[in-house]
């Protein structure tokens, strides 16, 4: 008896080890092949807006006060089923306003232009070129598309919040409780989330797939421009050529894709 139980446990243990080793082996096998074999390419469906690298330019000169930003935030939060919580600790936001000194803590001057000092800035996920959140995620629930968009897989996220610690822009929110009862009006075309997963701005990937521009861009009366950073003819590139722009925390080397004209 004693013996057979032991043998059974040994075999069970070794089998379990073998089963769990396979995916680990595969992961390394894939990364070794990286040079030779190409990874599968994303094929966008017909009518999708595509780009080599999506980027955004926010012309803050076109905003007079926080009032001008409200419809933009509202548009985003409405279509993405963002809940409204009374408890600030549970807050979820994809795009929101910050004072200059918070949006650009490393650029704050003691004496500053009145307009910039009092003007609220729109902040959102920067869809970094070399995103620390993508590097940190242990399950690839946060990943980077070929067009530069950093997206979340809500169904794979284990809720470890490593990405939140990694993000230097505070762009990520965690569902500290079930958000569904707190969504004013559910948009059936975009998934609601469950408790325990992280979420953030997705550059309206679901709208791009329908050939539309992001909701914040549409609601901004031309203050926010969205386009392909790699295309010299794009509107984004033209704005960058003719205006001085700043990005958040450039010194960290993350390569933010959101540019601000101040």
């Amino acid at each position: 008896m004693e013996n057979s139980r032991r043998i059974f446990l040994k075999i069970a243990g070794i089998s379990a080890l073998g089963l769990s080793a396979n995916p680990v082996y595969n992961a390394f096998a894939v990364s070794e092949e990286h040079g030779g074999k190409k990874e599968p390419k994303e094929i966008p469906k017909k009518g999708t807006l595509t780009a080599k690298r999506w980027a955004m330019v926010i012309d803050t000169r076109k905003f007079k006060s926080g009032k001008d930003l409200e419809p933009i935030i509202e548009a985003c939060h409405k279509i993405h089923n963002i809940p409204v919580f009374e408890n600030k600790r549970h807050e979820i936001k994809w795009i929101w306003e910050e004072e200059f000194k918070h949006a650009f803590p490393d650029l704050e001057n003691e004496y500053m232009n009145e307009r910039i000092k009092s003007l609220p800035f729109l902040v959102l996920c920067n869809h970094c070129q070399d995103a620390p959140c993508v590097r940190a995620c242990p399950t690839k629930a946060t990943f980077k598309h070929e067009d530069g968009i950093v997206e979340m897989d809500f169904h794979r996220c284990i809720g470890c919040r490593f990405c939140m610690a990694a993000c230097p822009y505070g762009s990520r929110s965690f569902n500290f409780r079930d958000p569904r009862p707190f969504i004013k009006e559910t948009n059936k075309k975009f998934p609601t989330r469950m408790k325990g997963v992280v979420e953030k701005c997705n550059f309206c990937r679901e709208l791009l797939a329908e050939g539309k521009k992001p909701a914040c861009v549409e609601a901004s009366n031309g203050a926010i421009v969205f386009g392909d950073l790699e295309d010299p003819e794009s509107e984004v590139r033209k704005l960058l050529k003719s205006n001085y722009t700043i990005r958040r925390k450039v010194a960290l080397g993350t390569g933010p894709a959101i540019y601000y004209i101040v």
Binding site: H102, A103, G170, V198
Partner: protein, 385 residues
């Protein structure tokens, strides 16, 4: 050998019952957390890791600290530690189980935990951390069990165990190094973004782990017929003395760099912890208590007269344990999140259910520790008597 863990005196059963009761209460709170979400904790959008991850970090240190009895015995043939290596290994097992439980209770979607291995991601430090933690746990279970069984049977442990013992030594260092790398590789967190973080973690680990072991040895001597030995306790306390001095030294290195360079992003966190920032400073008294405890312990441990007195030694070890616990179990994690990368000061205070769940995990660890130590000591009593 497991049967040895379920035979004992009334007091032993009383202790076990108390631990199981604490686990029960903690588990009840966990079920609540599971149904409501992590919103029942004090964590927030700005402070997205709290008490759980802090305890995890501290206990990885305690687990790694066990190697301080294994290394001198197996690498330097320091025979005296042969009596207590098993205690170090079993302490590591109990600590690692607590670590893994703390990671589990911190997850938003714990039932998806296997995604870490189903979609292995070598660029994530967390992936590596799960590997080294589980690896070190596995090594200690196999080594501890075989060595103890051999001792009971009056034989030498099987030869294949020896390489595992040697592997376990760098593994112990790796678990705490990789745990430090979780934090110190993040670009926007000035408090953690320092190469000294892993050495700091290791030095505090090699102080806290052996300090707890000294205390456990003193308790074992009092409640059982097995004496871990005066020489063993003294040697351990010298290790604690060196490690706590190094820990304070590393911290001072950090303080110098931060306050001489005066880079706000690095300075603000330490200011928040020790002086408060923009009127917020719940941790200020704690942090100064931690400093005081470490200084007192250095005085008591470095001075041979006080170190040799076992009553004073016990006080010194309690100081080390509490001081390093405050440093890592309270300040290290929430200190890194306050102020936030956008320079908002939103403080973190754990909630009652969060603390109850934490105590439940600690009770689980102590239950495992009690059972394992009971087994080890019963074998030692059997062999000697």
């Amino acid at each position: 050998m497991l049967e040895l863990a379920i035979e004992g005196s009334k007091k032993y059963y009383g202790w076990i019952t108390a631990l199981i009761a604490a686990i029960g209460v903690g588990f009840g709170c966990y079920l609540w957390q599971l149904s409501f979400g992590l919103g029942i904790t004090g964590m927030s959008r700005d402070v997205s890791w709290g008490f759980y991850i802090a305890q995890f970090t501290f206990l990885v240190g305690v687990a790694a600290g066990g190697v301080m009895v294994v290394l001198p015995y197996y690498l330097h043939d320091y025979k005296a530690f042969g009596r207590i290596t098993i205690l170090g290994e079993f302490l590591a097992i109990a600590s690692l189980v607590m670590c893994l439980l703390f990671v589990l209770v911190d997850l938003g979607q714990p039932m998806r935990i296997l995604n870490v291995w189903l979609y292995p991601t070598p660029n994530s430090v967390l992936f590596w951390d799960t590997l080294v933690l589980n690896g070190y746990l596995f090594l200690n279970v196999v080594i501890g069990w075989n060595v103890l069984e051999a001792e009971r049977n009056g034989t030498h442990y099987p030869m294949w165990v020896k390489p595992l013992i040697y592997i376990s030594i760098p593994f112990a260092v790796s678990i705490h190094t990789v745990t430090a790398w979780l934090y110190c590789g993040l670009p926007g967190r000035g408090f953690w973004l320092t190469a000294i973080l892993a050495p700091r973690f290791l030095s505090s680990a090699f102080a806290a782990g052996p300090a707890l072991l000294v205390l456990l040895c003193l308790i074992i001597r009092r409640v059982t017929n097995f004496d871990p030995g005066r020489e063993q306790i003294q040697s351990l306390s010298k290790i604690v003395a060196y490690a706590i001095c190094l820990n304070v030294f590393f911290f001072l290195c950090e303080v110098f760099v931060v306050f001489y360079s005066k880079i706000p992003e690095h300075m603000d966190h330490i200011k928040y912890l020790f002086f408060g920032l923009h009127g917020h400073g719940v941790l200020v008294p704690w942090m100064w208590a931690s400093v005081a405890l470490m200084i007192i312990s250095i005085i008591l441990l470095v001075n041979p007269i006080t170190r040799r007195n076992e009553n004073v030694l016990a006080v010194a070890c309690i100081c080390v344990f509490c001081g390093t616990w405050i440093d890592k179990g309270l300040g290290m994690i929430s200190g890194g999140f306050v102020p936030s990368p956008l320079h908002h000061v939103n403080e973190y205070v754990p909630t009652i259910p969060e603390i109850v769940i934490t105590l439940g995990v600690y009770a689980t660890g102590f239950l495992i520790l009690t059972a394992l130590f009971k087994m080890a000591i019963s074998v030692k009593e059997e062999v000697s008597g």
